[in-house]
């Protein structure tokens, strides 16, 4: 096993590839959280009165709430008064084209391999790049505008489409939903807004790159996607963050509304800084993601590849309200070193003939803890509801843990609900089989892990699938003995 130990050592000592910081002058709020800060954020963003009041209401609710302790994760308490709740890269005027964008900022994206200009020219993906809370560049807006699609930063949407924001904001995730959602509602700085009008099929993949940059900044993103009747959109979200020693808090909220016959596909690749191999530093990722299939025959599909963050707490959920609506959840969660992940989904069947499918693949290595926590609820009126859940765990090394907490609550006799879960390590016979055919152990492991996660990776859009496969290979190289 010495060879494996060596590989394991090599791998575990690998430092975070995307870790660096760019010196950007930030326009920051003072540390701490109180009503003044909320007034400050709201004023900074030139928000209307109703939004300020909405934030304050959320803040007051948050003050009365307690931080949840039920997730199977363990982290030092967060001092919410020691965080900076607003920081925006300094810019004199709003840029009209890419040429006006801070060149240093653009270089950041170059380093990540997502040059805006490149993307604009070659891939046809509209990128709404977010660095520390404020959108700095939006591309392809005009093309989308012709179809009536609105895709812009949240603050812009507040200025330009206040009626849409007012109507939909907080309608899926109410401000009192949970501790972190309330916090986000109070202090969210920016995010993305996407509106697909009736009968429109969005011709390109929409994507936003979230990055956390300034030190000591909690990032509170807010994403709202509204798909009108018969529309379709595929939305991608990808994250990488520079290396930091202090823990950074990230509490985002994503809301999706799908009207009749619409389909929304939401994909995430999350690769935030997980902390070093001794468990020092790393991002706290406490996210509330929820979609509602309001209309009949609507569909929401979540796909996620989670490899980063020190602590993850995230349950993308679907409320299947419309008849014949569908919800899907595909997830690969990889944890290594001292990472902890408590993730899963909720499928709430309300409408008749609703269907949901859950495929969750957990991979734990090092000293990490990986939990799947999910709920499938079939309400009394949800005739002929159908659910299939599969959650598999792969363990690498004897110091990690894999846990599953599925809740299955059925109140209708016509429901058909199946759940299965397995836990195992990579079979010696599988590796042996590959080795027999001249594939070395290293590649065999990569091959098997890739095959294990294939079901989920296949659901990702092309651009992400490549990135995700690279990430998987990078994260798990040689960690099996």
């Amino acid at each position: 096993m010495s060879n494996d130990d060596q590989i394991l050592e090599e791998f575990t000592s690998k430092e975070y590839e995307f870790g660096w910081t760019v010196d950007l002058e930030a326009d920051e709020a003072p540390k701490g959280l109180n009503e003044d800060i909320i007034h400050f954020i709201s004023a900074k963003k030139e928000e209307p009165q109703w939004l300020l009041e909405w934030r304050l209401k959320a803040f007051r609710a948050w003050q009365k709430m307690e931080e949840p302790t039920w997730p199977n994760v363990d982290y030092p308490p967060v001092d919410y008064q020691d965080l900076i709740y607003y920081s925006a890269p300094k810019q004199k005027t709003k840029p009209k084209s890419l040429d006006e964008v801070d060149p240093e900022l653009l270089a950041t994206f170059e380093k990540l391999g997502i040059s805006l200009t490149e993307q604009k020219r070659l891939t046809g993906v509209a990128v709404d790049a977010v660095i520390d809370s404020v959108s700095v560049a939006t591309t392809f807006k005009e093309t989308l505008g012709e179809l009536g699609i609105i895709f812009c930063s949240f603050s812009e949407a507040v200025q330009e489409h206040p009626e849409l924001i007012k109507k939909h904001l907080g309608s899926v995730v109410p401000i009192t939903d949970n501790y972190f959602a309330a916090l986000n509602s109070a202090v969210f700085s920016d995010g993305s807004f996407c509106y697909i009008p009736k009968g429109v099929r969005c011709p390109m993949e929409l994507s936003t790159y979230f990055r956390i940059n300034a030190a000591n900044t909690g990032q509170f993103e807010r994403t709202l996607i509204v798909a009108e009747e018969g529309s379709y959109v595929s939305y991608l979200e990808g994250c990488t963050a520079p290396m930091r020693d202090e823990n950074q808090l990230h509490a985002a909220v994503v809301e999706i509304k799908a009207a009749a016959d619409s389909e929304v596909k939401y994909s995430t690749v999350q690769n935030w800084y997980p902390g070093d191999k001794n468990g020092k530093g790393g991002i706290y990722n406490f996210v509330t993601k929820r979609g509602i299939c309001e209309g009949d025959r609507s569909k929401i599909s979540w796909t996620q590849v989670e490899t980063g963050s020190a602590v993850t707490w995230k349950y993308p959920s679907c409320i299947l309200k419309g008849d014949y609506s569908q919800g899907e959840f595909y997830s690969v969660a990889v944890t290594n070193n001292y990472q902890q992940a408590d993730t899963g989904t909720k499928m709430i069947h309300i409408g008749k003939n609703t269907r949901s499918r859950i495929v969750s693949k957990g991979i734990s290595a090092g000293k990490s803890q990986n939990s799947y926590r999910g709920q499938v609820k079939v309400m009394k009126r949800a005739e002929n509801a159908r659910n299939f859940s599969q959650c598999d765990s792969l363990l690498m090394g004897d110091k990690c843990g894999a846990h599953t907490f599925p809740y299955i609550d059925i109140e209708n006799q016509s429901a058909q609900v199946e759940h299965e879960a397995t836990t195992s390590k990579i079979g010696e016979d599988q590796i042996f089989y590959c080795q027999q055919r001249g594939i070395d152990e290293e590649s065999a492991v990569a091959l098997i892990v890739n095959g294990y996660a294939k079901e989920v990776l296949n659901k990702l859009p092309m651009e992400f699938a490549v990135e995700a496969q690279k990430l998987l290979a990078l994260t798990l190289e040689g960690s099996v003995g």
Binding site: W70, K380, S393, L395, M396, G397, D398, K399, C400, G401, A402, H403, T404, F405, P406, Y407, I408, D409, I410, E411, N412, Q413, S414, A415, Q416, V417, E418, H419, E420, A421, T422, T423, S424, K425
Partner: protein, 438 residues
């Protein structure tokens, strides 16, 4: 001070505990009584589980107890005759029978048992002799309020000690009958079962209540299975509709031992079975079979925990339920595999059928694994009868009712087949048939 859940119950128990202490006379200084005292204090400071308690989320027994019971200092059992015992028995079952009325061993209704290598003693006598080694070793009162309550009032029940290498051919049956002339009554039973090395024994527990009074049963079993022993444990619960029943069965297994638990729940208002098996050594094997066939408003909650502590152990769990009317079935199966428990094989399966839209199922099969070289899986399904299968039978001229009965019997037979005693198989089958005919 913050109000504890079940405050009313706790208050009435206080008086009862004082009366109990006085009645002990000279024995109130015994080691066992110190444990009772500690358990009672634990209960009084922690209170009963409240509605948000994760383990009791779907099972609010506290509320039911506050509403229906006044916990008097003592309740006098009604007269039960041999016919009643016969009526609640299992036809064709050959067993050494011990009968308990409201938890108290009745010498006159029980068989005279003399088995070589087996010592059977009423728990009260064992307490008086201060010979209760197993007491409070397997079940920890700190972990569960109802275990604490039972421990505080531990007095009645049985102590069975099976000597090393003793092979008991006929099963030992503990028949519990609840009967009282009063409006509501309760009884607390503690059974200590110590199975020696290489011994073989089958223990059957059966619970029934006479119609009428509403009753609360709180039972704790502590079972120790020594090296190489083979033990089988049956629990058949078929109480009256206004019975509240909670059972905690804690088992520890040593090297090369086999243990099988068969848990059958058929009736009552609320029934809770906590089955907790610790595989403390290598090469242990544990099997858990469970069957719940429910109607009316019966609420059955099965919580099982299998704790794999050492390598090369095997556990297999199969629980099946049929829910009719407004009944509610809850299943929570936990499998823990500790870091040392390499080469563990653990399997768990829970299958449910709902017959009406008013019936509910809440299941939570839970795996927690810290070792890597293991094979663990769990699966659960909930649904109705397979429409294709039903159609297939109907197409062959079998009436719908009958076809449904065939399929339900077939569904339950997976579990029933695992019961090795034919008389018990027939008993359960007959009850299912009777239910379906309704």
């Amino acid at each position: 001070m913050e109000k504890l859940a079940g405050q009313k119950v706790l208050e009435s128990l206080k008086e009862r505990f004082q009366a109990f202490e006085t009645s002990l006379n000279g024995h109130s200084n015994s080691a066992a009584h110190q444990v009772r005292k500690a358990a009672f204090e634990n209960l009084q400071t922690k209170g009963l589980p409240h509605a948000k308690h994760e383990e009791y989320k779907f099972f609010n027994l506290t509320k039911a107890l506050e509403k229906n019971f006044n916990f008097p200092q003592s309740s006098s059992p009604a007269k039960v005759n041999a016919d009643t015992v016969q009526q609640f028995g299992i036809e064709g079952l050959e067993a050494h029978k011990l009968v308990f009325i409201n938890g108290v061993l009745s010498a006159e209704l029980s068989d005279n048992i003399a088995i070589e290598g087996v010592s059977i003693e009423a728990l009260q006598d064992a307490f008086n002799k201060e010979n209760v080694a197993l007491f409070n070793t397997e079940a920890q009162f700190e972990e569960d309020a109802f275990v604490a309550m039972n421990t505080a009032f531990a007095q009645n029940g049985i102590q069975i000690t099976v000597a090393d290498k003793a092979i008991v051919e006929k099963p030992i049956m503990l028949q519990f009958i609840g009967a009282s002339a009063e409006e509501s009554f309760d009884y607390q039973v503690r059974n200590l079962i110590n199975i020696g090395k290489l011994a073989e024994v089958t223990i059957i527990e059966k619970f029934d209540t006479l119609e009428g009074a509403s009753s609360f049963t709180n039972i704790v079993n502590e079972i120790s299975v020594a090296e190489g022993a083979q033990a089988k444990y049956y629990k058949i619960e078929n109480d009256a509709a206004n019975t509240y029943h909670i059972a905690n069965t804690h088992v520890s297994q040593q090297q090369n031992s086999h243990f099988t638990a068969n848990t059958i729940a058929l009736d009552g208002a609320m029934v809770r079975n906590n089955l907790n098996i610790k595989l403390q050594a290598e090469n242990c094997e544990a099997h858990m079979n469970g069957l719940y066939v429910l109607g009316d408003k019966t609420h059955v909650d099965n919580h099982t925990v299998v704790d794999h502590m050492m390598p090369n152990a095997y556990s297999n769990e199969l629980y099946k339920g049929i829910m009719d009317d407004k009944s509610k079935g809850v299943f929570n199966g936990k499998i823990f595999v500790r870091q040392d428990a390499q080469k563990t094989n653990a399997f768990q399966s829970n299958k449910n059928i709902l017959l009406t839209n008013d019936a509910t199922v809440n299941t939570k099969p839970q795996l927690e694994i810290w070792a890597d070289d293991v094979k663990c899986s769990h699966g659960c399904t909930t649904g109705q009868l397979d429409r294709d299968a039903l159609f297939y039978l109907q197409a062959r001229g079998i009436q719908k009712d009958k076809a449904r009965a065939i399929l339900l019997h077939a569904f339950a037979s997976d579990v029933i087949e695992n019961f090795e005693i034919e008389a018990i198989q027939q008993y359960v089958e007959a009850i299912i048939t009777e239910r379906l005919a309704k």
